[in-house]
C-alpha cells in the first residue's frame, strides 16, 4: 500500500513539474517568436525604405516628418504611417509593409539635402539619395 502512495506522489510531482516546464517553454517560445518576427519586419521595412531612398532620383520638397515622397524610375513613391501600418504607395499601387501593432511609429527628418533620417520605433537609421538630379 505504501509503495503505491509513494509511486503516486512521485508521479504527481513529475507530472506537475513537467506541466510547469512545458507551459513555461510554450510561453517563452511564443514571446520569442513574436519579438523575432517584429524585429524581422522592422528590418525589412527599414531595408525597403533605405534602398528606395538610395536609388531615388530625388526627394520631393513637400516631404515632411510624416510623409516621404521620392521620385524613382519615373514614378512617385510615397511612404507614410497609416492606420498603424507602414504604407508604400506608387502612382499605380498601394502596399502595406506591416500589420497593425507591428510598428508603432515612423517618421522622417531631412538634416541635409539628399539625406533622410528614418525613425522607426526605437530604431534610427539614414539613407543618402545618391542619384539626385
Amino acid at each position: 500500500m505504501i509503495e503505491i502512495i509513494v509511486a503516486l506522489t512521485l508521479s504527481a510531482l513529475v507530472l506537475t513539474a513537467g506541466t510547469f516546464m512545458l507551459s513555461n517553454y510554450l510561453r517563452t517560445f511564443k514571446k520569442l517568436s513574436v519579438a523575432i518576427e517584429r524585429n524581422q519586419i522592422k528590418q525589412f521595412v527599414l531595408n525597403k525604405v533605405t534602398s528606395d531612398i538610395i536609388f531615388a532620383e530625388g526627394i520631393n520638397k513637400s516631404s515632411g516628418p510624416d510623409l516621404l515622397i521620392l521620385y524613382l524610375k519615373g514614378d512617385t513613391l510615397r511612404y507614410d504611417y497609416f492606420n498603424q501600418k507602414v504604407r508604400r504607395r506608387t502612382n499605380k499601387s498601394t502596399a502595406y509593409l506591416s500589420e497593425p501593432g507591428e510598428i508603432n511609429s515612423l517618421s522622417f527628418t531631412y538634416p541635409q539635402p539628399g539625406l533622410v533620417l528614418i525613425a522607426l520605433n526605437a530604431n534610427k537609421t539614414g539613407a543618402y539619395c545618391r542619384n539626385e538630379k
Binding site: V6, M21, L32, N39, K42, L115, N123, K124, G126, Y128
Partner: protein, 98 residues
C-alpha cells in the same frame, strides 16, 4: 519520504536548468534587438558621412578618417554597442568624387 525529497531535488535542478535556458533565449533576443539598433546607427553615421561635402569631412567620436591619397579617405567606424561585447567595426573608403 526520502524518495519524495530526492525527486523534488532532481526536479528543482532540472527545472532551474530549463528556466536558465529560457532566460538565456530571452536575453539573446534582447541582445539581437540592441545589435540591430546599433547596426542601424552605424548605417546612419556612414550615410551622413556620404552626404557630407568633401571639404567638411572630419573624424568624429565613432569615425576615424585616414587620408589614403589626396582624393581618398579610409573610413573606420567603431561603435561600442554593449559593454563587454565586441564593438562593431566597419572599414570603407570615401572618394572625393560623388
Amino acid at each position: 519520504m526520502i524518495e519524495v525529497l530526492l525527486t523534488l531535488a532532481i526536479l528543482v535542478i532540472i527545472g532551474g536548468a530549463f528556466l536558465f535556458f529560457f532566460k538565456t533565449g530571452l536575453n539573446a533576443q534582447a541582445d539581437a534587438d540592441e545589435f540591430f539598433q546599433a547596426l542601424n546607427a552605424c548605417r546612419m553615421a556612414l550615410e551622413e558621412l556620404r552626404a557630407t561635402p568633401w571639404s567638411q569631412l572630419r573624424s568624429s567620436a565613432h569615425i576615424t578618417l585616414t587620408p589614403v591619397t589626396y582624393d581618398l579617405y579610409q573610413v573606420q567606424l567603431r561603435y561600442n554597442w554593449h559593454p563587454g561585447r565586441k564593438p562593431i567595426e566597419i572599414l570603407t573608403l570615401r572618394s572625393k568624387y560623388q
